[in-house]
Symmetry: none
Subunit: 430 residues, 2 copies
């Protein structure tokens, strides 16, 4: 079943409201195995809505329209649908009762124009709306299906899942689900990732699509199958093959974040973590503490902007600061070791760099960042040079620090794992 969606609302075009229904609809239809291949947003204009419906019905078996179902003059979806299909609008007695009842139940007088919401194109049926006055519209006409749902997400989303999708099943030609898994890659650019999996991109079931995120690449595997178990059977071998080719770069899947995976590694080893940040200004600590339960392994974080802080709290030798400057590999290492000592943790991370726009010198440009990870006294430092504005540099430096931390913990965990293979962090995902 091929579907197109039309969302009406001038406020959407003006960007005053983000159309969260669009993503929700996409997810729900994909999970239901309905192929949504176009979404259109138009303003509250009868002709334009009508035009969009006429175009959509030429291409799709199912046209879903969101918004424009209210009682006001710029709610025009029902008129546009009736006009596009050349059908008269007729009042539905049940819908009329529902609307009257809705106001009665709230002891509120009903504005006359609300009765407009009881009008339906001939042959259509109302979709119940427990949460508002506007019933939805469902219509099967000349071999095509049409559904109109109210725009407020609190009404659109339950009406979609509880009313429309079950109804659509009875019209489905094939029973099919679309199942997706996202493999998350850190430490490798999009095109380098693609070079390693190019042959797999030609696959049709599952399909494979790379998606660049800040500091990460996501590989989306999508399978079509009669049911979820069959879809998993389609995905698993390709999933394994990708992990084999990118084994040192795939850190997790689906909703997993790099900071969660790091948290699991730390928890599994019974290790604790402390951070000392300069140019990232607390973003690393923020991301680590976004993970529920992180208080079990995250002891403390320091944002040491001023040199005195680096010296007094972290014990960075003043002569190193003088000789190397605050942005140097030695200082990053001293920060990682210092915060580890200060906090009594097994792991310490130190970041120093120039986020810009100010603070650069010919030898130390904006975007130069040193990242140090200290595991029980064994320190590694990474040098990075990032492009972009202040917030991009902060974000990329934080991603790189998480990447280095993950790599080092993983190797450590593997060493331990070889001694004790039953350890939780030896699962395929770590």
């Amino acid at each position: 079943m091929l579907a197109e969606a039309i969302f009406t609302g001038t406020e959407l075009l003006l960007g005053q409201v983000v159309n969260t229904n669009a993503a929700f609809l996409g997810e729900q239809l994909a999970a239901a195995g309905i192929n949504l291949f176009r979404q259109v947003m138009v303003g509250d204009n009868l002709e334009r809505i009508k035009q969009a419906i006429l175009e959509a019905k030429e291409r799709a078996d199912l046209v879903i329209i969101g918004g424009g179902m209210g009682p006001t003059e710029d709610d025009l979806t029902r008129e546009a649908l009736a006009s596009a299909l050349g059908l008269p609008l007729e009042e539905d007695p049940e819908a009329r009762e529902h609307i009257l009842g809705f106001f009665a139940a709230r002891n509120r007088p009903m504005p006359r124009q609300n009765l407009k919401q009881a009008l339906f194109p001939r042959g259509a049926r109302p979709l119940p709306n427990p949460l508002g006055t506007a019933p939805g519209i469902f219509l099967s006409h000349q071999g095509k299906l049409y559904a109109c749902l109210p725009g407020p997400p609190a009404e659109f989303q339950p009406m979609l899942t509880q009313e429309l999708l079950p109804l659509l099943n009875s019209y489905r030609r094939q029973q099919e689900v679309i199942f997706s898994r996202v493999l998350k890659v850190t430490g490798m650019g999009e095109s380098a990732v693609e070079e390693r999996v190019r042959d797999l991109l030609a696959g049709t079931n599952p399909t494979l699509a790379p998606l660049a995120k800040t500091g990460e690449v996501h590989l989306r595997l999508t399978a079509r199958a009669p049911d979820t178990a069959a879809a998993l059977a389609v995905i698993e071998p390709v999933d394994r093959e990708i992990r084999r080719r990118l084994q040192d770069y795939v850190y997790g899947a689906d909703e997993e974040t790099l900071e969660e995976v790091i948290g699991r590694l730390l928890a599994a080893m019974g290790w604790t973590l402390a951070t000392a940040e300069s140019c990232t200004g607390g973003l690393l600590a923020h991301r680590i503490t976004n993970v529920p339960g992180s208080s079990a392994y995250f002891r403390q974080g320091l944002v040491a902007y001023a040199n005195e802080a680096k010296i007094r709290l972290l014990g960075v030798p003043p002569e190193v600061l003088d000789r190397q400057g605050a942005v140097s590999d030695e200082v990053a290492a001293a920060m990682a070791a210092g915060v580890r000592r200060l906090s009594g943790t097994e792991v310490g991370v130190g970041i120093t760099g120039i986020a810009g726009p100010g603070g650069s010198t010919p030898s130390k440009p904006v975007g130069l960042v040193y990242i140090a990870v200290d595991l029980q006294g064994d320190i590694q430092v990474r040098r990075e040079l990032f492009q972009g504005g202040r917030q991009e540099v902060k974000g990329r430096a934080t991603n790189s620090a998480l990447d280095l931390l993950w790599r080092r913990l993983r190797i450590k965990a593997r060493e331990e794992g070889s001694k004790n293979p039953s350890s939780p962090w030896c699962g395929p995902r770590s």
Copy 2:
């Protein structure tokens, strides 16, 4: 100028990514007086993208395409545009240099297919992209304008505002500007704000639209006029009236953030700041250090997750922790005072609370947060109880801390200001 937008990306249709560029584009075009009357989302499919371009160019003067500009095989926008207009793709030497330079600057080998990003339809010009390898495309062809921008918001949004919009001005027919100003409100809910400005919401020039953001309410004033000066004359009186009614709640306008305004107040008073965070986990320090130049007044931040850290570094009395527990007004106050002492700053902020999902008790539910601000030893504590998940609580607690900090600094600044009215922080915006 009539515009249509096309966004490409199967991940958009599958709802795996929310299309935030759509709302941003709508806002920006409206502000520029360009009438966007349709947005389309299609998958990564050459024929469908081409079809969408062919339809759009029949209706619009300007076609903007977002996404599909990457180096991979499912990045098809440049091919679709060239094919839709029957133009050959030709390599642009400058763009080629930019791409080679991008990789050289990172000492990374360039995958061959990245050179695809140097291809442009004949007659097109590149739009610079300092933040990525993909330049944008701008093309004037047979009386219509075409612009292709990369999909990642971090690249799409600056390229739109800094490159495309200025370029479009030279092609504008009608001389009317739509000028917007956003007044930013902190510390008051949307409906309370609306009550105070309800009569102004009926205005037509300027129009006034309230928009709820996390922890803030934004009031967008939009005026139509022949030029910016005339638009300003329309906006100013309403701006002044709103500020009069909401004087203790409007902290700034347009791109200003609360942390920037706080930074200006601190800089103007020559004061320095230090933070001690528990449940917000570094988010406060992160937001403060997002401001360019914040190193001038932000000395250091502490993320004191463990009690030992609160005791050893911040000098929170152990008996207070025992008696009151870590989440209490006394501990928040001791953290603010402690970090101020530790850092030798005029201002200290302390935050302690329960971000959840774990860690709550019957008397201390998830979302309970205490925020203390210490100005030269004068401490105020605020108690909050937030709804929502871990990240919502972190975000709202951080907003509340910035709100309290801003209020207290503002009062201080006014006292100073009354002694020295020429001080910079007495401007209308503070």
